[in-house]
């Protein structure tokens, strides 16, 4: 009974250490630069307690649940040897976790507003809505595709830097021809696709796959899935902006 408690205490301490810089920055700017008292001390205290506890639980559960399941799925797929189902799973994981992402919903609504004010679509709520949901599906599709590509890369051992350079080349070319209004949103859209739960899962999957395939190095081949997932939405969103 003592051991888990000790582990929990240790985890809490390290969460505190993770959050200390953020607290110090906020405190410094509040007191030294803006010179204002803290508003609502009670809420602040409770909130900080929640943040520390939450981070502790999250990291704890990460090593207990998310990492093992990613690893065991990767093992199971490798043993089953069915590339088709593995790719289906990768696509579902990418698409499914992105399409419902609140950050993406917010960004696509803003994008519709930009498009309407730029005269790319009619300025009616209907047109905006259809633009926003179209964008959402495009981004989710592109993330699914990116994970599929990334998993294929692990299977085949394609060199990652070539793929990334090609991706960057595409981004640069599209930037030149895409409408100006969409560029900022496209660049930011890559950031909203990697949620806190997807990242550990996808990382564990990639590393797991690379470590049970012969001739693959988990360090060299296991990482990189998230890089694809944050690069491909940029390309697809700009394409979307050009077509509509």
């Amino acid at each position: 009974m003592k051991q888990p408690l000790l582990a929990l205490a240790k985890a809490t301490l390290s969460s505190l250490r993770d959050l200390a810089p953020l607290i110090m920055v906020v405190a410094f700017f509040q007191f030294a630069v803006l010179r204002q008292p803290l508003p609502n001390l009670y809420d602040l205290g409770v909130g900080m307690l929640f943040v520390v506890l939450g981070l502790t639980f999250f990291i704890y559960g990460l090593e207990m649940g998310l990492f093992p399941i990613g690893q065991s799925l990767a093992n199971a797929f490798a043993r089953k040897g069915s590339v088709f189902w593995l790719l289906c799973f990768s696509f579902a994981l990418g698409f499914g976790t992105t399409v419902a992402e609140p950050a993406l919903i917010a960004v696509s609504a803003e994008a519709a507003e930009v498009a309407a004010s730029g005269g790319m679509i009619e300025d009616t709520s209907e047109a905006r809505q259809s633009y926003a949901s179209g964008l959402r599906y495009v981004v989710a599709f592109s993330v699914g595709l990116a994970i599929v590509l990334g998993v294929l890369r692990i299977l085949k051992g394609w060199p990652i830097h070539l793929m990334i350079i090609i991706g960057y080349g595409l981004v640069v070319c599209m930037t030149v021809i895409a409408p100006k209004e969409i560029i900022g949103i496209a660049y930011d859209s890559g950031g909203v696709t990697t949620s806190t739960i997807t990242v550990p899962l996808v990382t564990a999957l990639g590393v797991g796959l690379a470590s049970c395939l012969k001739g693959r190095n988990p360090m060299l081949d296991g990482f990189g899935l998230i890089a694809f997932a944050s690069l491909s939405p940029m390309i697809f969103v700009m394409a979307y902006g050009m077509i509509i």
Binding site: L44, G61, S72, K80, M219, I226
Partner: protein, 277 residues
């Protein structure tokens, strides 16, 4: 009571986020793989911890840090604050008048990255996979510095009004050049750390800063210029992580060279010792 209802609302939102993942994982597990999950109980408890942890974390941020952070972003970008030291408010502020904003951008970029849970996850995995060569803190600090530089530059861009893509494209050029010099092992990880930096903690605060700046700097529109900070925050960690690996590599090489020297001198000592015998 209020707190409780907030908690349940946040729990529902987190559950909604996690639900597709759970459906996909368990659907594939039961219908395609058709094998029981090893240590199912443990995994389920782990998932419960993750959900509760994330809920508490988001709720705490929403209650404590985000309101202050957002308020600060608007106060720091307020013309009244920027001109507090200047004689006349009528003059147009130059880019150097925003020094507190740059400092804030740097500090908030670094500190939110240190607190970012998904980066912690990737760092733990990288440490495990590399057999300890990549330390958890080394990676996190390298990424944090990258984000800090990125957001500072991004803030400067909004103030100065240079086109976003000039910065991003030149960043890409640096990354592409670095690929050929950085140790091969780090390259995929470096790309990934660019993607994980912008999640739960960083995005809301940074977005508030970008919007605040775009609203108050004369001649900027929040719709066109408020975006783009996230893109900066994703690009620069790639550069710093590869730089970190280059540095670590260099130090290992130097240590090895020194060790070799030592072992060579050991060898001569034993040789001379054996001669004596």
């Amino acid at each position: 009571m209020d707190l409780f209802s907030d908690f349940s609302l946040m729990l529902l939102a987190t559950l909604r986020d996690v639900l597709p993942i759970i459906v996909i994982i368990f659907g594939f597990q039961f219908f395609i793989i058709r094998k029981p999950i090893p240590q199912l109980r443990r995994v389920l408890i782990g998932f419960a911890y993750v959900i509760i942890g994330l809920t508490l974390f988001l709720l705490g941020l929403e209650k404590a840090l985000f309101p202050i952070g957002r308020l600060m972003a608007t106060q720091l970008t307020d013309p009244a604050f920027i001109f507090s030291g200047a004689q006349s408010v009528t003059s147009v502020p130059g880019w150097q008048d925003y020094y507190w904003v740059y400092l804030f951008a740097f500090a908030i970029g670094a500190s939110t990255t240190i607190a970012e849970p998904s980066l912690i996850a990737v760092a733990i995995k990288a440490n495990e996979v590399s057999g300890g060569t990549i330390s958890v803190w080394g990676l996190r600090i390298a990424v944090a510095i990258g984000v800090a530089i990125g957001i500072t530059l991004g803030a400067y861009r909004i103030v100065s009004g240079f086109p976003l893509h000039y910065f991003i494209i030149s960043g890409y050029v640096v990354v592409v050049i670095q690929i050929f010099f950085a140790p091969k092992m780090i390259v995929p990880l470096a790309y990934d750390s660019g993607g994980v930096t912008t999640s739960t903690v960083t995005v809301p605060l940074v977005a508030a800063l970008g919007l605040g700046l775009a609203e108050t700097v004369p001649g900027r529109s929040p719709l066109l210029d408020g975006f783009g900070l996230i893109a900066f925050a994703r690009l620069f960690p790639i550069i710093t992580v590869m730089g970190y690996a280059q540095l670590a590599n260099y130090r290992i090489r130097r240590a090895k060279a020194r060790q070799q020297q030592v072992s060579e001198s050991d060898l001569t000592i034993t040789k001379s010792a054996s001669k004596r015998i």
